[in-house]
């Protein structure tokens, strides 16, 4: 894995992949939600990161990758949709397609 740099306002810092909670796309830009609660913009595209990040990172929907080690739990909504809740409390949805892959990862 090449070194990952993230920028936020005037700050550019080296990111420890193990401390990244999730990587997501918003308004066409890629961000990393970091353990310090801050969000850093990344220059790479999501598909590039998916190929380069460690296996702990799993696709949870078309716009986000989640670090499995930073997941607190999965939650079922009354609608049948599934959300992922991170250790920070942030939550994101799991798409139906990615849910199948997640089940495989958890050997279910």
């Amino acid at each position: 894995m090449e070194i990952l740099y993230g920028c936020r306002e005037e700050e550019i810092r080296k990111l420890d992949t193990a401390a990244i909670e999730s990587v997501y796309v918003m308004d066409g830009r890629t961000y990393a939600a970091y353990a310090d609660g801050k969000e850093y913009r990344l220059k790479q595209r999501l598909y590039e990161l998916e190929a380069k990040l460690p296996a702990d990172f799993v696709r949870i929907n078309k716009s986000a990758l989640a670090n499995r080690r930073k997941i607190r739990s999965f939650q079922t909504q009354i609608s049948g949709a599934v959300d992922v809740v991170f250790l920070s409390g942030h939550r994101d949805y799991v798409s139906r397609r990615c849910f199948s892959e997640l089940k495989r990862r958890y050997e279910l």
Binding site: N61, K62, R68, I71, S73, F74, Q75, T76, I78, S79, G80, A81, V82, S95, R96, R97, L102, K103, Y106, E107, L108
Partner: protein, 140 residues
């Protein structure tokens, strides 16, 4: 949408044969129990072809769940509406359902659909519980 239609046709073609097979089984038991003795050729043709189309649509519409932009409840409602009218029109056209039985048909259909949805929901919930358990206790 093109991708959706391809998936619709793929699913429809895969399972369309099931309808006529079920129809044959129903006819067999009706005959065995002395309820029907013989069938008119044109009625058979109409029944088999309409059931084939009905099965194609019923199986194909499940492709709606592949549209990620649609939330589960919306996809479920679309599937329910298509299945309801799909079955209803074929039953009415073949004369298998008198109009007076429409409320009973609707009740049975909605109850059946509700039960299937409940089973799906409980299955997802159980899977999620197992994923959480596996995540916190990898040896489980």
């Amino acid at each position: 949408m093109n991708k959706f239609m391809k998936e619709f046709c793929r699913r429809g073609l895969l399972f369309a044969w099931l309808g006529p097979v079920i129809l044959c089984i129903v006819w067999y038991f009706l005959k065995k129990n002395g309820i029907i003795d013989q069938l008119d050729v044109l009625d058979v043709i109409r029944a088999v072809l309409s059931i084939l189309v009905m099965s194609f649509l019923a199986a194909g519409v499940s492709a709606v769940y592949t549209l990620e932009q649609l939330p589960y409840p919306t996809a479920g409602l679309i599937q329910m509406a298509v299945l309801y009218f799909d079955y209803l029109l074929v039953y009415l056209w073949n004369g298998w359902l008198p109009l007076s039985a429409l409320p009973v048909y609707s009740l049975i259909f909605l109850t059946g659909f509700g039960i299937i949805w409940l089973i799906i929901y409980l299955t997802i919930r159980r899977t999620v519980e197992r994923m959480n358990s596996r995540m916190h206790n990898p040896e489980n």
